[in-house]
Subunit: 87 residues, 2 copies
DNA sequence: TCAATATCACTGCCTTAGCAGTAAAATATT
DNA sequence: AATATTTTACTGCTAAGGCAGTGATATTGA
């Protein structure tokens, strides 16, 4: 599960799965997320060149969260906390 | 941490943090990931409209993984396993 | 301090993502 | 089976993402 096509394909299915269970059509989800219907269609189809703001909008509408983690995550979180709390 | 600008801002910092620790310049990371230098710059700046294929390439180069999870994740994983194993 | 390196922020060019509209194909409902 | 709804897969259009190149502004190191 490290190649792009696989990841996006599965993500598309994840979106579709949630949408269906929520009883929404692609157009309803598109309106809810504030994107075009083609974008929802493309995401569910696994298109790899969608822009993250649009993807994020659709995921948020379906209560799907994104998480990023790298090998230096712990150190980063510590450092990032100081950057954001100090004014 | 649910708004887009915040998420992308933090992700940009995460990338930069990993890149610096790896001792790479933006151009070296760009070449490594197979994207343009402007794209690395934009990601680190927190640009929200980058395309996921480019983002994914940069994250992969830095060993940063993405994970998606929604409320129906368990059910989805069960269903998805059947879809992918059955030929 | 001074020089080398890196980053920033802008440019013009080309490509294409996103959009609504549409008709055909596939699903679902009665 | 017949009908309604939804999804698919295309269209042309417009806006902007990605790119390399560039000079100005940091940042780093000797």
């Amino acid at each position: 599960m490290s190649n792009l096509a696989q990841v996006m394909g599965k993500l598309g299915e994840l979106v579709r799965f949630h949408r269906k269970k929520a009883g929404l059509t692609q157009i309803q989800l598109a309106d809810l997320a504030g994107v075009g219907k083609s974008t929802v269609y493309d995401i569910e189809k696994g298109k790899a060149t969608v822009q993250i703001d649009n993807l994020f909008a659709v995921l948020t509408a379906m209560n799907i969260s994104i998480q990023f983690s790298g090998p230096l995550n712990a150190a980063f979180e510590r450092w990032y906390a100081t950057q954001t709390s100090d004014q």
